[in-house]
Symmetry: C2
Subunit: 231 residues, 2 copies
């Protein structure tokens, strides 16, 4: 995150954000909604992953998307084609979504839909491998993408994102033959930072790994639903 | 940058950073040094660009590198092989270099070398397409890289970096045949944000565009040297 020349201020900032995130999560839990926070560098393939996910799962689950971008609704427009509610949040100069922005998105959603009928909210964060990892928005799990084009060393150089991730997708594996890159080395570097994370190599182009990703999402949603039914 | 829930604080933060940047730049000007701030998303190819630049120009110019990374000295070690002074700055949780960190780097350099004998300082920023664009470090020009793998829409979605850039390198163009991507569309999107920026498509792998990049760097350094000689 930004150094503010004031450690107390940074702690307050993160503390206020965390309170907001916990509040958002309480809402989600009451409504039986699973919330996933999808993060990566710009252009690693978050939006196309969401396209594939909506195409595959929007019959089985009632899904909404909260789409964070500094400017434009380009990504939101791509996802609206899948006939699900998409709330676009423009962060302006801010480099990540925070819990307050997402609370605003939830309120917008709740004006248009009965939130207790939703199963899954996918949050697409601003493209940034650093800051979004420090600002929870109320998610139940963090999904991070690392494109093979970004290089093997990124888990070591940007450790916070990889420490925080519950599911790590190694994206664009179809490009691996054209790069001097070792997929096993990437996995080993991720495991060095986060030994127990779920790692799934995927390609939105060839479809590789999508089944495993969709199964992971389904397991998250079903676990939350059965928990909500038992309350 | 991060929203701090306090506009006045953000202005103070940027203001304090700008004062530090102006101070660094005064030092550089006095010493006749050109400083370039090299920025991009993680994995767009900053370090390999610096490797090629040091290999080509370190005979002609006396060059030093200030290497910013959240953690590790992996990149600094790669660049030390070129037998130039490399100062590694670990930013910890911070998502960008600021002028105070770079001032620390300059002081470290000045302990080991006579700075007035340097021609060029290359600053490699933390991999982040958002925040570094807002924090000047004292550079005379900003260089931004966009890898073709990041997609055509990034200039529109992350406009601050593209507004601020003096030179924009479209990197990894050797991968373009394997992507559904239109290089002219990328250029048009960059020009929409910044009509007068110098755009150079490059590939560190095939060498495409490197000559144009090196000529751009040479022109920056020579202009600064002739200015310093006339004072």
């Amino acid at each position: 995150m930004h150094q503010t020349f004031d450690a107390a201020l940074e702690i307050n900032l993160l503390h206020a954000n965390q309170e907001g995130a916990d509040h958002n999560r309480e809402h989600f839990d009451r409504w039986g909604i699973t919330c996933l926070n999808v993060m990566s560098s710009p252009g690693a393939g978050k939006t196309v992953l969401l396209e594939r996910t909506l195409a595959a799962l929007s019959k089985e689950f009632k899904i909404a998307v909260i789409e964070g971008d500094m400017t434009t609704e380009l990504d939101a427009e791509r996802l609206r084609k899948y006939d699900v509610p998409v709330i676009a949040i423009n962060t302006g100069r801010s480099c990540h979504l925070d819990s307050k922005m997402v609370a605003g998105g939830i309120h917008q959603l709740a004006h248009q839909y009965n939130p207790s009928q939703l199963d899954l909210i996918l949050v697409e964060n601003v493209g940034n491998l650093v800051c979004p990892a420090e600002f929870e928005v109320g998610e139940h799990a963090k999904v991070a993408l690392l494109s093979v084009t970004e290089g093997e060393d990124k888990p070591l150089k940007y450790p916070v994102m990889f420490q925080e991730a519950d599911c790590l997708l190694i994206a664009k594996v179809d490009l691996a033959p054209y790069l001097e890159i070792d997929l096993e080395r990437i996995e080993a570097n991720v495991r060095q930072i986060n030994p127990h994370v779920t790692i799934i190599p995927i390609s939105a182009k060839t479809g590789e790994g999508l089944e495993a990703w969709l199964a992971w999402v389904q397991s998250q949603v079903r676990a939350k639903r059965s928990l909500a039914l038992n309350h």
